[in-house]
Amino acid sequence: MPIIEVENLVKSYRVYKKREGLGDSIRGLFRREFRDVQAVRGIDLTVEQGEFVAFLGPNGAGKTTTLKLLSGVINPTSGRATVMGYVPWERRNEYRRRFALVMGQKNQLWWDLPAQESYRLHQQIYGISHDEFKRSLDELTDLLGVRTLLGQPVRELSLGERMKMELIAALLHSPDVLFLDEPTIGLDVIAQHKIQTFLRYYQEKRQITILLTSHYMKDIAALCRRVVIIAGGQIKYDGSLAGIVDRFSGSKIVTLQFAAGNQPADLMRIGEVLDTNWPKVRLKIARADVPLRLAQALSEYTIEDVSVEDPPLENVIADMFNQVEEESAAAPEAASGGAATRKANAEHAAKDLSR
């Protein structure tokens, strides 16, 4: 039986529409215009116990809103969802004791006190027995290598250290379901890697169900076998990471290495030239045409080496985001602001992905 079931989930909310300038600010005091933003537009999703699922999508795609809905922070406009049989937005204590949400640096820890004090409080709030608490805390602090930091006020910790402390706070009560919103945002490569390794180990060992949102391809590639791509408030893809290329990329990258002194000028006949670095040339060729075009090239030119590859995953996804953004730009009730914002968002997402 699935642990998370989501059916046609919709969340829209009203936002204040303000034009630029003082005049409109004053007018806004008396009369305000609102518009409906559809953050999530009919999501269907089923997650089995023990799965590690990544939500991937550009800013404002609805990833975080979905996590908020599933953790009961907000109520949906319509649709159904159950997590472990509970309706999240009923906020029952039985449910709240069995999941955790880590949302960036919005801390569950007391800023001025050492993290261990906050952990004691968690022990009481979640009713963790003394032995269980000690065992969990020892295990988590050792795995994350933060034992020496337990007695240091949280405000004096670095961003990466704080994130590790947040993770410990979220896992002390051994939740069955964990929602992670951008767990590695703003962290350096080493800290990112440490958190990835920890999450992978912990999830495999405990077989808990994790839903993670991230901009970073590396997080996702390292952790999740299943990827759900959300864009414009809808699920655009649900499957393996490798499957994305098969599904969304209609072309292959062909690299040809020509014999010395051979620099043909009419390569456009073979495919779209991506870059030339004589004697090497990279071409983009439609998937179906690859055998034909390759045979053509081999017969017409003297070629020393050939390689055929899939385009980089980041590029495929960025192209897909762009496509979705353009589609939703055409629809008037679309999620984010103007067309320009959408383009910027997609470009930003593409940049994030390649990091």
Binding site: Y13, A39, A100, W110, L113, R120, Q124, I125, G127
Partner: protein, 292 residues
């Protein structure tokens, strides 16, 4: 009142677990309070400075009235000079219980910054949590302030011309102080929760502070007000924050009226507890509505 502070798992000892949770929140809040010891010490001690100016002010007021024809000290609203100073000193205790520095603005800030999410995700009740942390703040404050308070009262002992009130009156006084603390808490927590609608509550809080300053009796006994205003001010709940405890201590409330007055105070307390709960519930619904 805040029965459901933390709904606890522990099936074996639910009451013991709940008490332990309360104790942990209290202890941690106390520790947090003591982190900024410089600010804490200064804030505690500075509270006593206005006493001197206030005593001089009332001295000047009574002095300008002069003695009555019969040679007795003049009275203002039923208070002689010594009574007035004693009144002022007792309202300081009342205010120390009922004032809630930073409560409303913090609640509003937590709403604005999204930290309020924590209370929706964890099995913990926001209002109960805030109440316990506030009790911790008060305990921390009193642990330190008891010494200067005792010293000031010792120096000013001559102003308490009637000496200690009888035991029942003293018990009533402590009961009004505690109810005053709770009224102050639930009232300001409610103001903070207006932040679910307006996000910024500082102006609202300023207006409340302004009215509270005059109408709670912090500045002067409410009996000093003209009759045409006094009856109305006496109907407001603000008087329980300062005037009422002091009047009880000084025996200004006739004994036959005291039980009724205290019942009304308890009624106001119940009113603010319910208002606070309802505002929170409506606020959470709204918060869920707009995202955040």
């Amino acid at each position: 009142m805040t029965a459901a502070t933390v709904n606890h798992a522990g099936p074996e000892h639910p009451i013991r677990n709940r008490l332990l949770t309360w104790w942990t929140i209290l202890r941690i809040a106390l520790e947090e309070r003591l982190v900024y010891r410089g600010d804490f010490a200064l804030g505690t001690l500075m509270r006593f400075l206005p006493i001197i100016t206030q005593i001089f002010l009332w001295y000047a007021v009574y002095d300008s009235i002069g003695r009555t024809a019969s040679g007795e000290s003049p009275e203002l609203g039923g208070y002689r000079f010594a009574d007035m100073v004693a009144y002022y000193l007792i309202t300081m205790i009342g205010r120390a219980f009922s004032s809630m520095p930073g409560l409303a603005s913090n609640v509003a800030l937590q709403i604005r910054e999204g930290e309020i999410k924590r209370y929706m995700i964890q099995p913990v009740d926001l209002i109960g949590f805030l109440l316990l942390t506030r009790i911790a703040h008060k305990l921390a404050y009193y642990t330190i302030a008891i010494f200067p308070f005792a010293f000031v009262f010792y120096l000013c002992r001559d102003y308490f011309t009637d000496g200690w009130p009888p035991a029942p009156q003293l018990i009533a006084f402590f009961a009004t102080l505690i109810m005053g603390f709770l009224i102050g808490f639930f009232l300001e927590a409610t103001i903070g929760m207006v932040g679910f609608w307006f996000l910024e509550v500082s102006s609202l809080l300023f207006i409340y502070m302004l009215f509270s300053f005059f109408l709670s009796g912090h500045m002067f006994p409410l009996t000093l007000l003209p009759d045409s205003i006094e009856w109305f001010v006496q109907l407001l709940p603000l008087k329980y924050l300062a005037y009422f405890p002091a009047a009880v201590f000084l025996g200004k409330i006739p004994p036959e009226e005291l039980p009724m007055e205290m019942a009304i105070q308890a009624g106001w307390l119940a009113f603010f507890i319910i208002t606070c709960r309802l505002t929170y519930a409506a606020g959470v619904r709204r918060y869920s509505g707009f995202g955040g």
